[in-house]
């Protein structure tokens, strides 16, 4: 039951993008097409889960025992940066079309605050390893849900005549706002 609560909370109630304001850059950047949004979700999920596991282990096995918790930020970001580069290299070889589609945003996963944010939140919330993994995965799914829904709306808006002043980022932000408004309905479920 606890896991269910974590999952529902991470996906709907405390949605990482719509409620926590993390991962906004890719949310606004890679959401022009549904297909790239799905690809990005995959990449983020992968990196997020792995990063959470590795940073969790580092925190528990290295930083805490040595009493150097203040190195959290530096060491976490190092690991994440390395991981992202790993994914980038592998993706470039294994699936060039996906690599092309995600383009510049793969390196940006490094600076995707959602990844680092989740890694830090896991430590703050004092999860055990399994909970951490569940939390990371469902947060990524929540990210994906918001991203893909958002991409769907943007794809549709692309075919419509949006007023000149609102085109591009402004209308995207308004849509995100309204989506967040709708998702507020889930508040209190957990």
């Amino acid at each position: 039951m606890e896991y269910v609560l974590i999952i529902i909370s991470a996906i709907f109630v405390n949605n990482i993008v719509l409620n926590q304001f993390l991962g906004i850059c890719p949310f606004l950047g890679v959401s022009k097409k549904i297909s790239t949004a799905i690809g990005m979700t995959g990449a983020v999920t992968f990196v997020m889960v792995i990063a959470t596991i590795v940073t969790y282990l580092i925190q528990k096995l290295v930083l805490d025992p040595f009493g150097i918790a203040y190195l959290q930020t530096i060491s976490f970001i190092l690991i994440i940066a390395a991981l992202v580069q790993l994914v980038e290299i592998i993706l470039k070889k294994v699936s060039p079309p996906l690599y092309q589609a995600l383009g510049v945003f793969l390196p940006l996963i490094t600076t995707n605050c959602a990844i680092l944010g989740v890694a830090i939140m896991t430590i703050q919330k004092d999860f055990n390893l399994v909970e951490a993994v569940v939390f990371a995965a469902s947060t990524a799914i929540g990210f994906g849900l918001a991203l893909v829904t958002f991409a769907g709306i943007r794809e549709q808006l692309d075919l419509m005549d949006i007023p000149k002043g609102m085109k591009g980022t402004p209308i995207a932000l308004v849509v995100a706002g309204l989506l967040a408004l709708a998702f507020m309905g889930f508040s209190g479920i957990v």
Partner: protein
């Protein structure tokens, strides 16, 4: 001391571990991509207009890098300047292509072409053209709904409300050919800019016989061949009931223009006629 050393050791070992893993993975999954593509793309205008015949500047850059001989490839937007830059990156030579500009091969204004019916379909030249010949008797001329203007990315065209025809702003035109592709009647031509930007061309595309064409439009080419006879350089031919001036052989003598009974031959950017007559007189004297 201890804290500092632990800090340093931890960070260093983390960094080293990451570096080693990355190095091996990078070796294993190496993908080669020609770095020159990026360099060439950098010098292209990034208009992605498709004027070069490729689906965007990146594709054109790839084509340039791959091609052994880039003399056929030309970026009309950037012109000779861009091409020479690109060529220098690739260490290849480029031939200067003559600058070109779009011209409209129709002078059927509202006045010269009486309207015979009223079009009530969707505002689109292509739709009207696939439906029928047009609101006037000329089924070759401009339909006047400005699809070419919409296609132009460079703000080089506008619709003249008086004449109902599009006007090309030469100073903005980069001759990318988007309007040519957009026009369902194919009455826009990419033509050599000519010396001092001067051009002589036939502003008509009507392939009907003279009588029919004349009835439909008072400024139509009626294929009377007078211009052909007047041309001392044989630059004019009449093909399918329309006169055509070959820009390669035309010497800009302007003898054909006054011969045309319907005024279908247009001159661009020449000094006013009077001056020219004086010049002729001067020479005669």
């Amino acid at each position: 001391m201890n804290v500092i050393s632990i800090t340093i050791i931890t960070l260093a070992s983390l960094g080293v571990a990451a570096a080693i893993i990355l190095y091996f993975v990078a070796q294993k999954f190496k993908v080669f991509e020609d770095p020159r593509i990026d360099e060439v793309e950098e010098v292209l205008p990034a208009a992605n207009c498709g004027g070069c015949g490729f689906p965007g500047c990146r594709a054109f850059a790839e084509a340039l890098v791959k091609a052994d001989d880039i003399s056929d490839l030309n970026c009309p937007v950037g012109g000779a300047d861009t091409m020479s830059k690109a060529a220098s990156i690739l260490g290849k030579k480029v031939q200067a292509a003559a600058p070109t500009v779009a011209v409209l091969k129709c002078n059927g204004t509202c006045e010269s072409r009486p309207r015979l019916n009223h079009y009530d379909g969707a505002e689109s030249c292509s739709i009207a053209a696939s439906l029928y010949g047009g609101e006037t008797g000329c089924s070759y001329g401009c339909l006047g709904m400005g699809e070419c203007v919409d296609a132009c990315q460079f703000n080089a065209m506008y619709m003249d409300k008086e004449t109902g025809l599009p006007v090309i702003k030469e100073e903005n035109c980069v001759s990318c050919g988007a309007c040519v592709a957009a026009c369902p009647k194919k009455i826009i031509e990419i033509r050599k800019q000519g010396p001092k930007n001067r051009r002589i061309y036939v502003a008509c595309a009507n392939k009907d016989k003279g009588g029919v064409a004349k009835k439909a439009c008072s400024s139509a080419c009626i294929a009377c061949s007078k211009c052909m006879k007047a041309c001392p350089f044989g630059a004019i031919i009449v093909h399918q009931n329309v006169a055509q001036i070959n820009p390669e052989t035309c010497r800009y003598c302007r003898k054909c223009t006054p011969e045309c009974p319907t005024g279908a031959i247009l001159e661009a950017n020449f000094p006013p006629k009077k001056e020219k007559k004086e010049l002729v007189k001067d020479k005669a004297e």
